[in-house]
Symmetry: C2
Subunit: 296 residues, 2 copies
């Protein structure tokens, strides 16, 4: 029987940086900006942070990277790496540690410095199959399979790009703040068929942070806490594309992680009013709808 | 008030590989060997593992690396990186997650493939101060300062090497299984003064694993569980050697982490009968004695 997080753990402050091509900002700058905003949001003194988890993929940092950035020393700080879920996994471990009763107030931080920090692919890859492989190529295969299986078209993808750009226009911290029309998306230069320029996210620098505390301390910080009800994570093969059984129209890890989260929260997909999902490519967001059980 | 882990979490099985220059074994081989032994030690079926934490420094793996190695898919697996403490931090997070009540039976794994997996230094370093810096150089500075401050000599270091080689001879899984005399250690080729060949650990491949479970499930597995009483971790600056205030005769992170562990366990250094410490160099072990409070 999974733990009922809602009785134990709350998120009482959040923050994030501007997102973009931040050539003038170091990883330390990004962490400080996001954490500073989260602490201010929580009305939490920096010294009250007892432990931290920091998720990042590209930089081979340990937890000390956050300690150095914040000048907050002598506390436990763990660096987690789980690819695109690294920031979420930092939050998950932070929540579990508070639920364990080990710490009262902790930080979860995610950051990435992709534009001028060096883009190093994880060094495990297949010497033949992986040669020349890049993300748009992989997700283009998924888009084509999705089209074949469900009769979707480039217009289906374009609806995601139009919606997300409209939302970005309303967010002062979004990387690309401009409206695009379906026509613009459909006529954009091709990156990897069927994915055009507006089907692909930019590579972006940024950071986000959350202050997590014991449920009974919430009133020290805020009247509007966020109560996590469930947090799932699932590792499947790190090389799904090399498996003959991989169908390309969804990710088993997402399905399994969602099952965990739904079970912990005791809800079904039908209970979900709002979702934020990964949208590295427009097709990714659509596949996530499928995997999260939103497509019936 | 820190949590009392002993009421919540137990280690019910452990395993490790042979350590050495294992050119014929992949990271997957190492993980499977160590985990297989830990599961056998616990009498635990592989499918009973609900989540895992895997610590490694050199390889930019996510948690999926362990999932692929074990063919154990759909569960949460987190990769943590915290330099020389990565394996311990994997165990720490595993214990916290069980103490939180989220999982009943989990794995903690540490592994490193240093000999032919590519030895990549973390990519953050000082462009001038770090130029040409290697581990023996850093710890040699500590040894010389320790000699100056406490009147120790190369014989003090040699006593560590002689002791540890004697213990290695008794362990079938040790990398170097040979007795050495003080004379051999003192006459060995110099690596970086005052550290000679036998003051420096070899670079070694290997893995270790532990099965961690909820306290009330211990009897499913073993009559001889290990009850963790305290687990500390402290991040200080990742670049202590660049700080003018760094004294070279100890590490503040070790002091702070030990304080946490002692407080959780409600013991003092005087209560400790046995310790296993990091011995990358003979001087490291001696500095750890100081930092753990064993030197009065």
């Amino acid at each position: 029987m999974p733990v009922d997080l809602r009785k134990k753990v709350a998120i009482v402050g959040v923050g994030c940086t501007q997102f973009g091509e931040l050539y003038d900002q170091s990883p330390e700058d990004l962490m400080c900006d996001a954490v500073g905003e989260a602490l201010a949001d929580a009305g939490c003194a920096r010294d009250r942070i007892e432990a931290a988890w920091v998720g990042t993929v590209m930089s081979t940092f340990g937890g000390d990277a956050l300690a150095d950035a914040l000048k907050l020393f002598g506390r436990p700080m763990t660096r987690v790496q789980n690819y695109c879920a690294s920031g979420m996994d930092a939050l998950r471990n932070a929540c579990l540690a508070v639920a364990a009763g080990m710490y009262d107030v902790v930080l979860a931080v995610g950051f990435e410095k992709m534009r001028d920090g060096g883009f190093a692919r994880p060094n495990r890859s297949h010497p033949v199959l992986d040669f020349g492989e890049r993300a748009p190529h992989i997700f283009a295969l998924s888009a084509n399979r999705y089209f074949a299986k469900y009769g979707a078209t480039k217009k289906t993808l374009a609806a995601v790009a139009v919606k997300n750009h409209r939302h970005g226009l309303k967010s002062p911290k979004a990387h690309l703040r401009m409206e695009v029309t379906e026509e613009t998306v459909l006529r954009a230069p091709m990156i990897y068929s069927p994915l055009g320029l507006f089907d692909c996210c930019p590579t972006t620098d940024g950071a986000a942070a959350a202050v997590v505390c014991r449920a009974d301390l919430v009133r020290d910080f805020t009247d509007e806490p966020v109560w996590p009800l469930g947090i799932g994570l699932a590792a499947v093969s790190g090389q799904p594309y090399y498996k003959p059984s991989f169908g390309y129209v969804g990710f088993e890890a997402t399905v399994r992680a969602a099952e965990q989260a739904y079970a912990q929260a005791r809800v079904t997909p039908a209970d979900v009013d709002f979702a934020e999902v990964h949208d590295c490519f427009t097709i990714t967001e659509i596949l996530n709808y499928e995997d999260l059980g939103f497509c019936g």
